[in-house]
C-alpha cells in the first residue's frame, strides 16, 4: 500500500543507490520517523554522558533526573525487581513519548499514529512478559498460573485466562494507536478549519494565524501523549510484576486484567 509521503523526511525516498531506491516507496513514513527519534535519543544521551562527572551538571543532570525518577516509578510497581526491568520500561516510556510528541511538530508524523508501530510495541511487551514468565516460574509453573487457585475450576479458568492474556497486546496497541491518531486527526481538522477561515493571503506574520487555532489542542495533545506513554509503560510494568516475582512481596495490588 503506497502512502503519501509529505513530511520533512520525504526526501529520503528520493535517494537512489545505483538502480535501487534507498528507502522503497511502500515503506510508510512512520519508519524513517521512528529512526529519527532513535537517532536523536542516541545522540543526546551520548553527548550528555560523554564524560560523566561525580556531580552532574547540564545535560547529564537532566538525563540522570529522567532515569532516576522513572526507576522510582517502576519501584512503586515492581518493588526490588525494578533495576532488572527499568532499562526496558524506561526505554519504552521515553521512546513512545518522543514518538507521540514528534507528530505535534509541524512537518512530522507520529509513528505511533500508525497501527503497525503500536502493534509492534505491544507484541514486544507481550513477548517479554511471556519470556520472563517462563524463565521465572518454569514452564509448568507458567502454565499453572493460568489455572487459578481452585483446581477443579481449572478447565473453566484456563481458557478465560488465556483469552485475557491474549487481549492484553490487543488493548495496549489499540489504546495507544487510537489516542495518538485521534489527537493528530483533531489537530489536522483544526488546522484545516483555521486555514479555511483565516487565510486571506496577508503574508508575513499573519500567515501563522491559521495554526494558532490548533495551539490549545496541541497543548492538550502534549499532555495526553505523556499520559498514554506513561500508561503503556506502566501497564507493561504491571504485567511484568505479575509474572516475575523473585521476592514474594505483593506491592500496590493493581487489577491485572485486560
Amino acid at each position: 500500500m503506497h502512502g503519501e509521503h509529505g513530511s520533512w523526511l520525504s526526501w529520503l525516498y528520493e535517494i537512489k543507490v545505483g538502480p535501487h531506491h534507498l528507502v522503497p516507496e511502500w515503506v510508510p513514513e512512520a519508519v524513517p520517523m521512528s529512526v529519527l527519534v532513535i537517532l536523536v535519543l542516541g545522540v543526546l544521551v551520548r553527548l550528555g554522558m560523554r564524560r560523566p562527572q561525580r556531580e552532574p551538571r547540564g545535560l547529564q543532570s537532566v538525563i540522570e533526573w529522567v532515569f532516576v525518577s522513572l526507576e522510582n516509578t517502576w519501584r512503586g510497581v515492581l518493588g526490588d525487581d525494578a533495576p532488572r526491568f527499568a532499562p526496558f520500561l524506561s526505554s519504552l516510556f521515553i521512546y513512545i513519548l518522543l514518538m507521540n510528541w514528534l507528530g505535534l511538530v509541524p512537518g512530522f508524523k507520529s509513528p505511533t499514529a500508525n497501527l503497525n508501530t503500536t502493534v509492534a510495541l505491544a507484541l514486544t511487551v507481550f513477548a517479554v512478559v511471556q519470556y520472563y514468565g517462563v524463565r521465572e516460574n518454569g514452564f509448568v509453573g507458567y502454565l499453572k498460573h493460568f489455572t487459578g487457585e481452585i483446581w477443579w475450576l481449572a478447565p473453566l479458568m484456563f481458557p478465560i485466562h488465556v483469552i485475557g492474556e491474549l487481549a492484553r497486546p490487543l488493548s495496549l496497541s489499540l489504546r495507544l494507536f487510537g489516542n495518538v491518531s485521534g489527537e493528530d486527526r483533531i489537530i489536522l481538522v483544526l488546522v484545516a478549519l483555521g486555514a479555511i477561515l483565516f487565510h486571506r493571503g496577508l503574508g508575513g506574520a499573519a500567515e501563522a494565524v491559521p495554526y494558532g487555532l490548533a495551539a490549545p489542542m496541541i497543548a492538550l495533545a502534549m499532555f495526553t501523549s505523556l499520559v498514554q506513554a506513561y500508561i503503556f509503560s506502566m501497564l507493561a510494568a504491571v504485567y511484568l510484576a505479575g509474572v516475575a516475582h523473585e521476592s514474594e512481596e505483593e506491592h500496590a495490588a493493581s487489577p491485572v486484567s485486560a
Partner: protein
C-alpha cells in the same frame, strides 16, 4: 437507502454513547480518588498512580468505539451519490 441511514446513525451515535458511558465511569473513579485524597493526603501519590491507570482502562474502551467509527467513516457515501440515490 435505509442501509445508509442506519450506517450514518450508527457511526454518529456510537461515539456519543461511548463518550457518555466513558465519562460516567471515569467520574466515579475520580470521585473515589478525590475522596481518598481528602481523607488521607499523604497517600495521594499512590492513589494518583492507581487513578491514572484506572482512567486509562476506561478510556481505552471509548477509544475502541472511536476506532470502529473511524473504520466506518470511509464507507459513508459523498454528496453526489446521495443526491443520485434521492432521485
Amino acid at each position: 437507502m435505509l442501509y445508509l441511514f442506519g450506517l450514518v446513525t450508527a457511526t454518529g451515535f456510537a461515539v456519543a454513547v461511548a463518550a457518555f458511558a466513558g465519562a460516567l465511569g471515569q467520574s466515579k473513579a475520580i470521585v473515589a480518588a478525590l475522596e481518598g485524597t481528602a481523607r488521607q493526603p499523604e497517600a495521594s501519590g499512590n492513589m494518583r498512580t492507581l487513578l491514572i491507570i484506572g482512567l486509562a482502562f476506561i478510556e481505552s474502551l471509548t477509544i475502541y468505539v472511536l476506532v470502529i467509527a473511524f473504520m466506518l467513516l470511509p464507507k459513508l457515501p459523498d454528496t453526489p451519490k446521495i443526491l443520485e440515490l434521492l432521485k
